[in-house]
Assembly symmetry: C2
Homo-oligomer: 469 residues x 2
Amino acid sequence: MASSAAAIVSGSPFRSSPLIHNHHASRYAPGSISVVSLPRQVSRRGLSVKSGLIEPDGGKLMNLVVEESRRRVMKHEAETVPARIKLNRVDLEWVHVLSEGWASPLKGFMRQSEFLQTLHFNSFRLEDGSVVNMSVPIVLAIDDDQKFRIGDSNQVTLVDSVGNPIAILNDIEIYKHPKEERIARTWGTTARGLPYAEEAITKAGNWLIGGDLQVLEPIKYNDGLDRFRLSPSQLREEFIRRGADAVFAFQLRNPVHNGHALLMTDTRRRLLEMGYKNPVLLLNPLGGFTKADDVPLSWRMRQHEKVLEDGVLDPETTVVSIFPSPMLYAGPTEVQWHAKARINAGANFYIVGRDPAGMGHPTEKRDLYDADHGKKVLSMAPGLERLNILPFKVAAYDKTQGKMAFFDPSRSQDFLFISGTKMRGLAKKKENPPDGFMCPSGWKVLVDYYDSLSAETGNGRVSEAVASA
Amino acid sequence: MASSAAAIVSGSPFRSSPLIHNHHASRYAPGSISVVSLPRQVSRRGLSVKSGLIEPDGGKLMNLVVEESRRRVMKHEAETVPARIKLNRVDLEWVHVLSEGWASPLKGFMRQSEFLQTLHFNSFRLEDGSVVNMSVPIVLAIDDDQKFRIGDSNQVTLVDSVGNPIAILNDIEIYKHPKEERIARTWGTTARGLPYAEEAITKAGNWLIGGDLQVLEPIKYNDGLDRFRLSPSQLREEFIRRGADAVFAFQLRNPVHNGHALLMTDTRRRLLEMGYKNPVLLLNPLGGFTKADDVPLSWRMRQHEKVLEDGVLDPETTVVSIFPSPMLYAGPTEVQWHAKARINAGANFYIVGRDPAGMGHPTEKRDLYDADHGKKVLSMAPGLERLNILPFKVAAYDKTQGKMAFFDPSRSQDFLFISGTKMRGLAKKKENPPDGFMCPSGWKVLVDYYDSLSAETGNGRVSEAVASA
């Protein structure tokens, strides 16, 4: 947990330097549990530059990491708190998300009033009467024994898998964990086989514990990718440094192909046409829990690197950084979370495609969500009114041009749709996609990934343990 | 369908006249499909009386019934529309609800954008940016054949079970009926055995059809109870006539016992203490679809009559009228609908108890909802901010006083809780509850009801056909 902000630059494996060069990251780096108010005006080299960035939800970006000068004291305090809760992988990812303010104005795991508003309204009301979006429960489950051991305590220490204190949860509130209702209202189904529900809900305890978080130090994973994990505060600093007057976010959890690149390039073109002078892309691959047959983060990051080296996206106007949230595959409910979190990171435009955060129905032969619902729900969601939603145009492989292009229904016979399933199938069989679908070096990463699986499992099938590691 | 407003008075079986004496009902009686703006000031006998009634949702009370002068023409038009949809019982109840503006500002069955906002946000945004609550889908399902027959038509005629035209649905929009998702998001479970889902969703068609309603004449049931079915417009007129400066609504679907009466009387006392001069009670039993083991409306109305004759509630400050909605048993989701509809009927106070609109889990041995969630969700619901929520105090049978009283936890041994299940059990066995639980004449109605069931079924078990008729 020692990777410093400077390493983001010096250690970047992206030789075409698409990542940020942020010499000022420390200014807003985590180091205080107090609320950080972002400056509306940033003075730089004597010039007054209007930041122009969208305000965080609730007006203030949360930073729940204890400031450096108090860490020794707080760590000692954490050791003395009698009640301890061991965090699993997904819990820790949520602590990370909360600690950096992606879920602002949340100050910790949800108490019951926030949980109920999230389930029923996908939003909650602040004390000043304003409404912020919040569509997925960010909660911590405990079992009967843990509840008993906590007793009347007002705080608990959260520890990692080997018992190291990670955070203190204060002013706690314990309430029932209505698992079936939580799943039904979040996913619109209770079918068995929802990846997040199986991982983090069904087997979890019968109680939820909410409270305010004090996180003892910035969350690190020591997986070689920490330098790509910029907090909303660091991202905002970078957007200001680049003089961005529009930030458009692209959420992804899959390898990037040239259709994505076309879309992102075209979005920038449209924003320039709208009169923005310097739109910057936040390419923000999801870094938390994903389902077994998704390509793991480390391989995706290698693939993104190759695609960026290939020069399809302009490093000057692109910031690549990992979004630390776990993936819920909750479609129209989750896409709101993906968008809301990016507001907190400074994005005022959000690109949304077909069936965002969707997946196949776990027990029926159909997609879980209507492909258009995500976009529609997002455009109507309470608390997201100030975010500009940019619907995807559909890109497909244009056989006449030998490259990815926007689909033209008047000559549909010229286009080839290459689904994620088809793409994975080709990579597994070490076959090549059509020229122009993805740069060869990026494709090779995918082939290598599936190759590594075959080698480990001996039969080419995805091993859950490997793929979700 | 000919019952006139005058019949409400002359035909009332309530000898103690708790029902309204509304000689002005025709002023706002259904008779126009245009929107009725309610007067803020009502001039009466030369005095200017400030109405003080809460505004309907969206500012205007919908009235979707065709005005009398145009009915012949519209009925003829309805006969000429080629596409027809036969309404089932629940569909017709929703047409009734919509036609009178209980669901204002809805102008008909939901189109997709309203449906999605209802499912995800329990509310929707109007064109002026304001938000109104809407927690339960009010939708009309059609099957593949019906969709095919409608083809490109822009309107359909809705007919009753024997083919009589009831309404025209205009500017229609047909979209997929995501049954599983609808059930999951409305009830927080997809367990088999949810009464409304079994009745109106699971077997329904795979499509929903939304549009604007023109209802050909006021909906009547010819069951002897139409005179107790006052529209929101008629109720508002009555509250104004009585000079009410506060209206407190009590939703019920069960027989009234003295605990309810105590609560309603006590609420009036509290409102007087708060400075209101003339708080009026809207006692608003639900009249639509209920589950098989609930006491049917006709028997409940007989029971209410006896209780009112008994003088426990003051006829001068009580309006009894039937709420035409079907019952969903959707707990915290549905209680919002119950409250929102009563705003449209003029109520600015809403009494909410434990586990409103709740029931046992259909497949597990527990209540479907946490008993406190309904009250909490209601108090936080978007679009209901201007409604005053009055939480129930718990009433129980005080053995020391021999009557229903507010539960005093410091002497809990003195109290007896008589649940609905226990009450039904006693009535079925023709046993008496403790003195003071319910007036003897009201209790006799319940005993007679269960007696009539035994006679019909021969074994004392509730026959679904009888109980839900």
